[in-house]
């Protein structure tokens, strides 16, 4: 069963996939379908540009080193054409420097090949979500009895104030923006710590573990759930862990 979006649109969201490698293209299409989106797959740079300008896509996945051009160069053209689609670059140019370059040039996210199917789905889902819930400017974000105040940077569960460090609050804020969805370690490193490489030690897990224990203690039940080695799911209202991914 495809995962349901919090605010389901009438038509499934459309995702443009520009990718010349068959295997990667199929994986991208499969991930898009898993998320309840409608993928449209082209294999060359000019086709990608034309499609991006012609149709209204929620998310565009662009490869680099395509026949005819580099997806990074397409970013400005897609924006200039008036598209509001969020762009995920998926590329074999996967060093930290490449990622930073891509993000600086306007990509909304950057995923290096080879990628885990789970990682890809997490990234795509986060983008689909961002495209739907465009603004999160409410000061107060609440999940049942859990309340997060963005400006004051405080977390309350019921009447209890949960003391969190600045970094822990950043973590909670990112989790809250992706509530109910799998968030990967790499996403956390990139979005919360602004680091684009993969440390050899499980530093992120330790941070999340601490936060999880803190929240669980205050709430009396799990708030952040571990997801089968893929990452974490923030869901204060879920009673017990359950699988997010379809078989």
């Amino acid at each position: 069963m495809p995962e349901t979006d919090p605010t389901p649109p009438r038509l499934p969201p459309r995702i443009l996939i520009v990718e010349d490698d068959t295997e990667a293209g199929q994986a991208l299409c499969a991930a898009a379908r898993d998320l309840g989106a409608d993928p449209h797959w082209v294999t060359t740079y000019p086709e990608g540009l034309a499609a991006a300008g012609a149709d209204d896509f929620r998310v565009i996945v662009f490869d680099r080193m395509l026949p005819g051009g580099d997806g990074i160069d397409a970013l400005a053209k897609i924006r200039a054409a008036g598209s509001t689609a969020l762009v995920l670059i998926v590329s074999a140019l996967g060093r930290a420097a490449n990622k930073i370059e891509g993000l600086e040039k306007g990509a909304d996210d950057y995923l290096a090949k080879p990628f885990d199917p789970d990682e890809l789905r997490a990234r795509l889902r986060a983008l689909l979500r961002r495209a739907t819930i465009t603004v999160l400017d409410n000061d107060l974000v609440s999940f049942g009895e859990m309340e997060i105040r963005m400006k004051a940077r405080t977390v309350h569960i019921g009447a209890t104030h949960v003391p969190v460090s600045p970094k822990e609050f950043d973590l909670i804020a990112f989790f809250a923006a992706n509530a109910g969805a799998v968030v990967t370690r790499m996403q956390l490193l990139e979005k919360v710590w602004n680091l684009h490489f993969d440390p050899q030690t499980n530093v992120v897990d330790v941070h999340v573990g601490r936060l999880r224990r803190k929240l669980e203690q205050a709430a009396g039940r799990p708030v952040i759930h571990t997801e089968r080695g893929a990452g974490y799911v923030f869901d204060p209202q879920r009673a017990a862990p359950m699988d997010d991914a379809p078989a």
Partner: protein
Amino acid sequence: MRRLAGSASLRVTLAIAAGIIVISLSAMGLQYRVTARALDARQAELLTADLDAFAATYQQRRIPALRQAIDFRSRSMEPGEAIYLLQDRTGVKLAGNIGGWPVDITPVGARFDPAPVLHYALPLGPGGEAIRYRGIARELPGGFRFLTARAETPREATLAGLRRVIWPVAAGLVALALLAGWLTSRWVLGRIARVNRLADLVAAGDLSARLPEPRSSDEFGLLETHVHAMLDRIEALNRATQRLSDTIAHELRTPLNRLLQRIRTLDAPAPQKQALEAEIHATTRTFNALLDISAAEAASGARPGLVPVDLSALMAEVHDLYQPLAEDRAMALTLDAPPGLQVLGERSLIAQLLSNLLDNAMKFCRPGDSIAMTLTAEGDRLVMILADTGPGLPEAQRAEITRRFVRAERDRDVAGHGLGLALVQAIATRHGAKLTLPASEKGFRIEIAWPKLSRD
């Protein structure tokens, strides 16, 4: 570099100016000498002409004729121009335009010969001032004494006028020479400075920097053409290297990606699939490290891409990232860095360097060990020290541990690709930082001296 160019410019300016000044002053001096000599000759001619005339007169009718001639001349000539005097043997003046025989002049020479010539000064000016004369004094047969001289005034006036002109002209020439020198040096050194500026840009990492057209067809133009040709070649090589590493990335990562996607569809036990996935990820990491090392090495010393990075803050961030892990493993991770110390760098690379070092420390340290991160400003360097109380490094390994794939023999069983310190070394070099592994009594110690970014 600019100061050096400045002094070269000064030297060239002065050399050119000195050359012009010496040549023009010599020319003016020569001109003066020639003029003085010409005037001398003219004066001598006048005197000789006078003497010739007197000689002719004396030849005809001796003293009376001479007396008449002198009388005639005395009437038309002022003593300021020429003087004449004829006395008889008792000293009585027979003719002339001066009162009496000047005391300090003794007659010398025969009759009206042009030589010997006497030079003397007499106080005969309008206000009694001395006038210089060139003339003769002779005793003629019968005891008559005869004296005639031409004033040197016209010659001196001309020369004085010349001198009056020479000084301002010389001053003007010096100024013009300096200006000419300055313009020449500016032009010559300007052409060289163009090439120097280009070299600076290239050294700072902008391989595509070129000089604007037009290029002249002289030697400077040729130099620029050569430099451009060299740069084109370097740039092409660099692009080829870059393309090669991009191609390697593409050609290896794409199949790795296919493998990774297919593993999920395999009908195999989950632990086996996870082991395969982990293997692929480990390969990718090694691969990333190698590409990072060569990219950092290629960019060594280049300025583009470097921005001010708050090293103190970045160390604090990385410290905070690793602190909970250290605590979980019962290691004491401490940070001692005064705030606000900056370097010119790439934040991501420096974070990676710190992360690599801490990963290493965590890997080898045991519970109870401590890991200290410190940063101190020493002169124009920021010295970053990471020291732990772990097992340290065998002495023999210390020299080569920063080479790729070098690992201590005893660490064969510890996970890792042996590129961590090679990447640390490459990142340090890319930032112009000096890495040392000083001997340490206990544990591993690494010192990295970064060029400090002065705040201005």
